[in-house]
Amino acid sequence: MGLLSSSVSITRYRVEGQIEKPVAEAVAKGLKKNRIVEIDQDISEKSIGWTSIDKPFFADFEGSSFAFGNLFVFSLRVDRKSIPAKMLKKYLTIETSKRLEKTRRSFLSKDEKKALKEKVTTDLAKRIPSTPNVYDLIWNYESRDVYFFSSLRSSNEELESLFKRSFDLSLIRVFPFTAAHLLSDLSDRERDVLINLSTTHFSD
């Protein structure tokens, strides 16, 4: 779901740490170094990387801007290949039959079956195109806020990991406990009270 969609979901993060200066250059370097790598002609089943918001399927960032005012805006792209179980079964059956005929045997050992399955999976992965999922994000460098346009757990985990790898900065997800510590102005005494809170019952 993109930030330009008519209806969006947002997970909010706080950026922890200092990025090297000049910031825009450091961000550009992190984005280009970790841009998405196409896997359609490859045996890989999954690829994760950055892409631009306006040309998400041409991830070279050439001619695309990622800086808008004091915001950095770009996208996380996750490409996955999913081999349907029935397709795998079909080609595994065919290859097993060919192997048995060639070796004039009536069965394959456990190791042979495993190796054949890996070979068939790899061959199919080369032939099947990946399915891309694109998730936009807005990073306000000055306020240290990141708005990530997905609430899916898997995409949030991919984001946290890739962000750290790209910019050497940690993303702290904002939820009630972290909001209380990162965003509020509670005193140390109030924070101690908070730590020991338990659920209120509004019914008798």
């Binding site: 979901s9 947002i10 009630p176 109030e190 908070l194 019914s203």
Partner: protein, 177 residues
Amino acid sequence: MLDLAVAYNRYRFIGDEFLTWLWFVIENEQSALKSADPDCTALEIGSRIVLENRKKKSLERITIRGDDAGLEEGRLALKKGALLTELSLVFKTGESQWQFSIKGESLNLSNFRVPGPAFPTSPEEMEGVILSKYENYNKISVFIENIFKNFLRLRVSSKWSTKVVPGIKKWVQATDV
């Protein structure tokens, strides 16, 4: 700080209490919302609320949806010990409105619709539309942050048990169902 995964589950009730308190504020103290955003002319319950009752042996979840949905059932669930876990809201200023749902456990915003231009019609408009969208998302994010801060200050003060909780209990008990 605690391990974040542990803290997420240990303190999820704070978010649920926040939403329950917010419902009470919306119905009884709209003027208090001005301190979170002076532009706010109204904050209304939207088309969906979700409550969960964890006092029972098994988790009981109540979902109320629909534009004309009565909230009596929700108040009845509160009376039985449930807390709000998700709340759909409409934030209004003089001329515009923002619609969104907020989850108590994560404070994530979903079904978020903002005023202003939807899509750029040319590459030159891209920056303007992105900045406008950001301003609109940020307005609600800051509003929620401010109202949550107000809630937290109350929650860790003695006022919570002496004034706020009795007030909410009275409101819940006054529910005519």
